[in-house]
């Protein structure tokens, strides 16, 4: 990997001035998005896990529902946030949407649905942190479908939607929010409950909670690792099973201002480095060849593709949706071998 760093191979090491310049500007594959992502995810996980040290003033609760800056927001008791899919499931289970949580859901809806798209998965979710520890770094381009970067077909695109409906139906049948109560996302951020239970000797909170925490997080990790290493399917959990991010992806990724932009499509040499780096197996070259921004429902806005591209074709940033039909000015080549109908 080091041979491709900076896109140039020289016999001697670069001088200090050049090294600083490279560090500031970043060298391809630039790691700036990954560092920022890891920092945000870790900070959030630590804030959730050790919230009791500051009595939950900064953040309180878990990713299913949280309260920010309790008592420090003028005019409000706190900024309430609540998971959108949890709200849907809860509405299905009680047969009526809850009016109490409407503000809490609205905050999340505006943030993710209207602004950031599937930002939650790549930048906030602690499971992304765990999954990427065990990620396969490379996928062969001639591998069978599902295991190589590909444009999603009709069947693949419908599986997560069907699963969402199954979760909602199960919520109605069982009379309780189904996925939310077994969700590893909320469960992982409830780590504070265990630490608290051990430190303050809260009866029944330590061992039982630790076991159930480990069970839920462990199941997700196990499923994902088996899929990745045995069957070669990247991020099975995020792509198919977990509805929390998928619902943002399906609804918001198409229109969200935050997106992976195709800024210099003419510079692309179709080396497929971006597609292979993508944790969600998106075929980015297909988008670049068509000169479109990445509006795939799978896109986590993690910026991996942008930071590995040696020619700066892609970048992560804000761009308002363009009218249909208008393209970014791509260089579409007839008969390109990865093109899809």
């Amino acid at each position: 990997m080091s041979s491709t760093r900076g896109g140039r191979r020289t016999g001697r090491k670069p001088g200090i001035a050049r090294r600083i310049k490279l560090w500031v500007r970043g060298t391809p594959p630039r790691r700036k998005y990954t560092w920022a992502r890891r920092a945000l995810q870790l900070v959030l996980l630590l804030l959730f896990s050790f919230q009791f040290l500051v009595s939950g003033v900064i953040i309180k609760g878990s990713l299913a529902s949280s309260r920010l800056f309790e008592g420090h927001v003028p005019g409000l008791s706190a900024i309430e946030m609540m998971d959108f899919f949890a709200w849907l499931e809860q509405a299905a289970a009680t047969h009526s949407p809850s009016a109490v949580s409407i503000i809490a859901v609205a905050v999340v809806f505006i943030l993710y649905m209207l602004l950031l798209g599937r930002f939650f998965c790549g930048w906030v979710c602690p499971m992304d942190l765990l999954f990427s520890l065990f990620e396969r770094k490379f996928t062969r381009m001639n591998a069978p479908p599902l295991t190589r970067p590909h444009h999603y077909g009709r069947v693949e695109g419908i599986i997560p939607l069907l699963l969402m409906l199954v979760y909602l139906a199960l919520s109605v049948i069982l009379g309780q929010p189904f996925f939310t109560s077994i969700s590893p996302v909320a469960s992982t951020t409830k780590l504070a409950a265990i630490i608290q239970g051990i430190i303050y000797n809260i009866p029944g909170a330590a061992v039982g909670l630790a076991l159930s925490w480990a069970t839920l997080t462990g199941i997700a990790l196990f499923v994902n690792i088996i899929a990745e290493y045995v069957f070669g399917v990247k991020r099975l959990w995020c792509r198919f099973i977990c509805p929390i991010g998928n619902i943002y992806g399906f609804i918001a990724n198409r229109y969200s201002p935050l997106r992976v932009k195709v800024v210099h499509p003419e510079k692309c040499v179709k080396c497929n480095v971006c597609s292979m780096a993508c944790p969600m197996s998106i075929d980015l070259v297909y988008y670049i060849a068509n000169g479109r921004d990445i509006k795939d429902y799978r896109c986590l806005h993690c910026g991996r593709c942008a930071e590995v591209c040696p020619y700066g074709v892609l970048s992560l940033g804000f761009r308002l949706p363009k009218p249909a039909g208008q393209k970014t000015g791509g260089v579409r080549e007839e008969g390109y071998w990865l093109e899809h109908p």
Partner: protein, 347 residues
């Protein structure tokens, strides 16, 4: 839904969600004197020894053909409660976010814990209050304030709103959590369980002067009733069970009285409503209701002093002091509070 039934059963729908930690049916224990020769001889001389399953136990002076039974220690007779003001469709509304648990910890009470997989799949992740002796609920109602879905209803806010409307006319605005007791429908919403005093185990029903439970109760004399007699300060929870199984009481089952009781294992236990009705109607399997049982005690104390002395001094107090024990530090704190109150009054 027919399809739902087996799945629901698997999730514990059919089971009693408030199932006791101990053996629910046998909530009482007997005064068995097999191993204590001295006591056996003493009670045999008094003529109150009965055979029970091949063991010798002391008879109940009120019901001479039955062994005297005491409520078990709290650890063997505790129940899982939902937090206060849980809505009827609590499990559908709760999204298992844990905010109530964290808030309860930040308030410093630690009454709520999150259910683990051991508590059943249905309750998994939901808040549970089940240790009244160490961590009783103090009815601060913070958990209901932070609940994002209305699984815990905002009762205190509603009560304050009503009080504000009412008191705006009178020109004063003073209220705290106890204003819930002014509104019977809100009390019913808030209720987790109802407290039940065991008159055979309670110190105040056996020549003592205690009132610890009533002092600890946030609603005080609205829930507790006293009868001052030469045989002790008879304390009871004001609760009436109607024929259709509804309970009329202001007790919400917070468990502060359980924590305050000086008897080891507590003479007052908070029970879920169904269990309360069951025990109330057939108290200690004597066939008498709780009301009748108390009346019988008062009756004996009025008309049969020998039996009353036998009951209180010779049997119940011996069990209380020798077998259960009384936590002296709890009485001491009670007395200290009284003393400091008296001093502040005089100075």
């Amino acid at each position: 839904m027919a399809l739902a039934a087996p799945v629901a059963h698997m999730l514990g729908e059919g089971q009693d969600e408030n199932a006791s930690w101990g053996r629910g049916e046998d909530y009482y224990e007997y005064f068995i004197v097999d191993n204590d020769k001295e006591k056996l001889e003493y009670y045999e001389a008094l003529g109150v020894i009965l055979e029970y399953n091949g063991r010798k136990c002391v008879a109940n002076p009120l019901v001479p053909d039955k062994c005297i039974a005491y409520t078990k220690r709290y650890e063997e007779d505790r129940f899982r409660f939902k937090p206060p003001a849980a809505s009827p469709d609590f499990y559908s509304r709760c999204i298992r976010c844990g905010l109530c648990y964290f808030q309860c910890h930040y308030m410093g009470y630690n009454a709520i814990r999150l259910a683990s997989l051991r508590d059943g799949l249905k309750a998994f992740g939901t808040p549970i209050i089940d240790d009244h002796i160490r961590h009783p609920c103090t009815l601060c109602m913070e958990c209901t304030r932070v609940c994002p879905t209305g699984a815990l209803e905002r009762v205190l806010e509603e009560a304050k709103e009503r009080a504000r409307k009412k008191e705006r006319k009178q020109g004063k605005e003073t209220f705290d959590r106890t204003i819930i007791a002014n509104y019977p429908d809100l009390v019913k919403k808030t209720r987790m369980g109802v407290a039940l005093i065991d008159p055979d185990l309670c110190w105040a029903w056996n020549s003592g002067d205690c009132k610890s439970c009533a002092k600890a109760c946030p609603f005080g004399a609205e829930v507790f009733d006293f009868l001052f007699t030469p045989w002790g300060v008879h304390t009871r929870v004001k609760a009436v069970v109607r024929d259709d199984g509804t309970i009329e009481t202001k007790c919400v089952g917070c468990g502060l009285c359980v924590a305050a009781c000086p008897v080891v294992g507590s003479a007052i236990h908070v029970l879920p409503e169904e269990e309360f009705v069951r025990r109330y109607r057939n108290f200690k399997n004597t066939g008498m209701s709780y009301e009748e049982y108390l009346k019988k005690i008062l009756d004996v104390e009025d008309h049969d002093p020998f039996k009353a002395v036998l009951r209180a001094m010779e049997i119940n107090n011996v069990f209380l002091l020798d077998i259960r024990g009384i936590k002296k530090e709890k009485i001491k704190t009670e007395l200290a509070a009284e003393r400091s109150l008296g001093e502040s009054k005089t100075t």
